[in-house]
């Protein structure tokens, strides 16, 4: 990344830079189960997250900035998710979409389900719901964009992440932005 991981960018440059990054999130959808259907619904005409600058046509994890894990992660699937996450280039973001990806959801006592994708990869935004409405995903995306806007790329690349946001449980966006 050259300079960016060594120096803190001056504020105006950082602003423009982050503004550009937050509106071109190439998104890799890890559609695992039911929630993936709602993810698709969010990408089609009625909800249309492309207007928020999320482009769901990443050719693969290597070209993606954002990983949306939507659905149940099973123990058998977990290594594949981890590997695909590792293939993504920094700075990368993860939205955990749906109760299953957050914590195991209705299968909290199942023998074969991983209780949350955060056990294997770090998550930036949790979107609760089973399945969450497409609007909730839009909300999650806006929360993530807010975070990207206020972020220091140097910290991010050095692996210093902010605490994850849980939609509906954490402080409203405006407060979160001003505190960081």
């Amino acid at each position: 990344m050259g300079l960016m991981d060594q120096v803190e960018l001056p504020q105006p440059v950082k602003y423009v830079f982050n503004w550009g990054r937050k509106y071109s999130l190439w998104c890799f959808n890890f559609g695992l189960a039911c929630c993936a259907i709602e993810f698709i619904a969010a990408s089609t005409s009625r909800h249309d997250f492309i207007r928020h600058g999320v482009i769901p046509f990443a050719h693969g994890p290597r070209q993606a900035d954002l990983l949306v894990v939507s659905g149940t992660l099973t123990d058998k699937m977990a290594p594949a998710v981890k590997r695909l996450y590792e293939e993504m280039a920094e700075p990368k973001y993860v939205i955990s979409f749906g109760s299953c990806a957050n914590c195991g959801g209705p299968y909290w006592d199942s023998y074969s389900v991983t209780k949350g994708v955060d056990q294997i990869i770090p998550v930036d935004v949790y979107v609760p719901g089973c399945p969450p409405r497409p609007e909730a995903l839009l909300d999650g995306i806006i929360a993530l964009q807010h975070r990207i806007q206020n972020e220091s790329l140097k910290d991010r690349i050095a692996g210093r992440r902010l605490d994850p946001v849980t939609l509906g449980a954490d402080a409203p966006l405006a407060l979160e932005g001003s505190s960081s």
Binding site: L32, A33, I37, I40, A41, P106, C130, R133
Partner: protein, 393 residues
């Protein structure tokens, strides 16, 4: 099947209608090794986490082995730890595109064991919802199959309809995918005011818009080229491995438990089952699309039948199925869904065995793919309509 033209086998590697002569160079004993190609578990064409290992001889598939289990969530075991009210919130998630139809099966099974009379109104509304759910499911596959063949647009059309229908179902059930609307003995709540008008309106609207799909997909030359004569399934093979639903209908067998073994009130109305001829990918898709028409016909009939009255019956605080076992089969959107429910008289089932349509249908994939070309393999994979959660449970 008069609309279907006679099928013509398209020569591999040639434009439709044009012959290509292959010339074999050498004496034929050039040593080659087979390549094993693993598609999935995360591959856009497998819509879900389904893995298939292909043994390739050049461009031809020699053997295809589906690897399942990436979405195994242990439904059958979990059902043994949920009481009868909770199970329905669990089972509507195994085939996530047919939530309503799944819960219906469990509700029917428990009601059969309890020998419970379900109010007429509830039965008719269940049919209405089940058919809307069927349409939702089929629309999704119409979109995704076209997407796998490289056409993005039909997906947007399919979701235009899906969003309307989901909003309709949500107004009554509160859910967009997982409705949890059934209850042992009836339904959770009655329909909201104005539901039937809205339902009529949407059914007319969907019917008006269906020709779009005929034009966009079914009448598309590329689509014909990719699907006609690809992956034909014979009736014998289909029956021997228990294929059901549109995949079976495409081979010309109109087996549908709504007709052959009517449950709810299906016996009182006219249910059409569209069938194909050749059992190839085109026919499978054709049956799927025509099933939407058939479901709309049922919906229109149901609208005129829904009587007034209660929608649920009085239940004890704790529903307990009596000791014994029962098997209930219903026609899920993708085929026959069966629940084997065994109870020891306790508050949870002793065993809930599922017979899911997708599980049986994917067993046809090795038969279909043998000898197919690699690009056709994707076409075949998408044309055997399955939901991964329904395979793995």
């Amino acid at each position: 099947m008069s609309e279907l033209e006679t099928k013509e086998r398209i020569q591999p590697g040639s434009a439709p209608g044009e012959d290509v002569a292959f010339e074999i160079i050498g004496d034929g004993d050039f040593p080659t090794t087979d390549m094993s190609l693993s598609i999935g578990p995360a591959h856009p064409a497998t819509h879900g986490v389904f893995r298939i290992v292909l043994e390739m001889d050049g461009e031809r598939v020699k053997r295809a082995t589906p690897v399942i289990g990436y979405m195994h969530r242990g439904f059958e075991k979990l059902a043994e730890y949920r009481d009868y009210r909770q199970i329905k919130a669990l089972v509507n998630r195994h085939d996530w595109l047919s939530g309503f139809s799944n819960e219906l099966g469990v509700a029917l099974a428990v009601e059969t064991m309890l020998e419970m009379e379900v109010p007429d109104r509830a039965q008719w509304i269940r049919m209405l919802m089940a058919e809307w759910n069927r349409i939702l499911n089929h629309l999704m596959f119409i979109g995704s199959y076209a997407l796998e063949l490289g056409a993005i647009t039909p997906m947007f059309y399919a979701f235009r309809e899906r969003d309307d229908i989901q909003a309709l179902m949500e107004s009554a059930t509160g859910g967009r995918l997982h409705f949890t609307y059934n209850q042992v003995g009836g339904l959770k709540i009655d329909l909201p005011k104005g539901f039937l008008q809205e339902s009529r309106r949407i059914s007319t609207q969907v019917r008006e818009r269906l020709p779009d799909y005929d034009d966009l997909v079914l009448g598309n030359e590329i689509f014909h080229g990719r699907t006609k004569g690809v992956g034909p399934l014979s009736t014998d093979v289909a029956l021997s491995i228990g294929v059901t639903g549109p995949t079976l209908h495409a081979t010309g067998v109109p087996e549908d438990s709504r007709v052959t073994e009517p449950y709810l009130k299906y016996g009182e109305i006219d249910v059409k089952v569209p069938v194909g001829e050749n059992g190839d990918a085109f026919d499978r898709f054709y049956c799927l699309l025509r099933r939407i028409d058939a479901s709309l016909d049922i919906i229109d009939q149901v609208h005129d039948h829904i009587p007034a009255g209660p929608v649920n019956s009085k239940l004890p605080k704790m529903v307990k199925a009596p000791e014994g076992a029962t098997y209930v089969r219903t026609e899920n959107p993708l085929g026959q869904l069966g629940y084997w429910l065994e109870s020891d008289g306790g508050r949870t089932p002793w065993r809930l065995k599922m017979r899911t349509p997708s599980f049986s249908n994917v067993q046809a994939i090795p038969h279909l793919m043998e000898g197919a070309l690699l690009p056709d393999a994707i076409s075949i994979l998408g044309s055997v309509f399955f939901v991964v959660g329904d395979i793995d449970r």
